[in-house]
């Protein structure tokens, strides 16, 4: 299983985001995002905002990063104001 972490407002209860995702061969961060979008449309819209960052085991990665069973996949929403 892949552990999912939705940081900040992506973790708001209204999104009802799941905590884990079934690992499979060739699965990428983008693949998880696509699957979540079809199951949770509001969460999907938030994940498709520009500048959402994704990390695997606390390292920022490309969305095409292949995921290994047991990793932590985290989504970080954009923060740009000041």
């Amino acid at each position: 299983m892949i552990k999912l972490l939705f940081f900040g407002r992506l973790g708001d209860a209204t999104y009802a985001a799941p905590e884990v995702f079934e690992a499979s061969v060739g699965l990428t961060a983008a693949g998880v995002r696509d699957a979540l979008s079809s199951l949770y449309p509001a969460l999907g819209r938030a994940l498709f905002e520009p500048q959402v960052l994704v990390s695997v085991d606390r390292v920022i990665v490309d969305w095409q990063q292949p995921l290994l069973d047991g990793c932590e996949l985290a989504f970080l929403p954009p923060v740009t104001g000041g």
């Binding site: 940081f7 520009p50 960052l53 606390r58 985290a74 929403p77 923060v79 104001g81 000041g82």
Partner: protein
């Protein structure tokens, strides 16, 4: 520089720290920091740096103080509304520390402003265009850059030591997912809102990071630090040089 008797008293709590002491305080007193943006981040960052004994500060911001600034921009008072932020900031900062030399520019950051003898730059801006400009300049000039941002309950800090050739840059983080992500977001503090103290956390973190960098202690270069005040969570993630970054790897991204 020799500390005066008054300065010995003023900075005594720094002098008591083995890893600051007289030498470290002297280094702070001889430092010149550029702060771009005197809003929610710039106010707390500048206040702590002024109090801590940074010797010179150049501040720039084109805006005047508005009522809607007062819940978070803690250098300004109700009577300041309508005045340039940098003029009010200079006055308030020098009330905190009369030894501080402040150069104030009531304008957006420009090549003229960037052309200074700074030890470090604080990015306290609220838009991607200014952040991109500071990133490019600091990277090219090999100047340390401490960039922060906030929205809602959340804050983010990125510190880059561009003295190191292999440092990732701000553009690396923005274009990590895809080059087209390097566009302004529809949401900023003026449209989505922000909790005032979150900016205090992030601005104070910028000041702390700046002091740690000037004193040569800071280790988290190229790490992205995230804070969520609502849940009380912090998260640090590592950023690496991104093959999609025009500045670091020469791909065709225009930021």
């Amino acid at each position: 520089m020799r500390l005066s008797g008054r300065q010995f008293a003023r900075y005594s709590r720094h002098l008591l720290m083995d890893d600051i002491g007289v030498d470290g305080q002297d280094r702070l007193l001889n430092s010149h920091i550029l702060i771009v943006g005197m809003g929610g981040l710039g106010c707390p960052a500048a206040l702590y740096l002024a109090a801590a004994g940074i010797g010179r500060m150049t501040v720039c911001d084109a805006d005047v103080v508005a009522d809607s600034n007062l819940h978070r921009q803690i250098l300004y008072r109700q009577g300041d509304v309508g005045e340039f932020k940098v003029d009010c900031a200079k006055r308030a900062l020098q009330e905190v520390n009369a030894d501080l030399v402040v150069q104030a520019y009531a304008q957006s950051v420009s090549a003229e402003i960037l052309d200074g003898d700074y030890q470090l730059v604080l990015d306290c801006t609220d838009n991607l265009a200014a952040r991109g400009l500071l990133n490019r300049h600091c990277r090219a000039s090999r100047l340390p850059l401490v960039s922060a941002s906030a929205i809602g309950w959340e804050g983010q800090l990125l510190a880059f030591d561009f003295v190191r050739q292999q440092s990732p840059c701000f553009n690396c983080s923005i274009t990590q997912s895809k080059p087209e992500a390097a566009t302004e977001l529809a949401e900023d503090c003026s449209s989505a809102g922000v909790l005032g103290p979150v900016l205090g956390v992030m601005g104070s973190l910028q000041a702390t990071t700046a002091i740690a960098m000037i004193l040569g202690y800071f280790q988290q270069h190229g790490e992205l630090q995230r804070y969520d005040g609502k849940s009380g969570r912090w998260m640090n993630v590592t950023l690496s040089t991104n093959p999609n970054c025009q500045l670091c790897c020469g791909s065709k991204v225009d930021v």
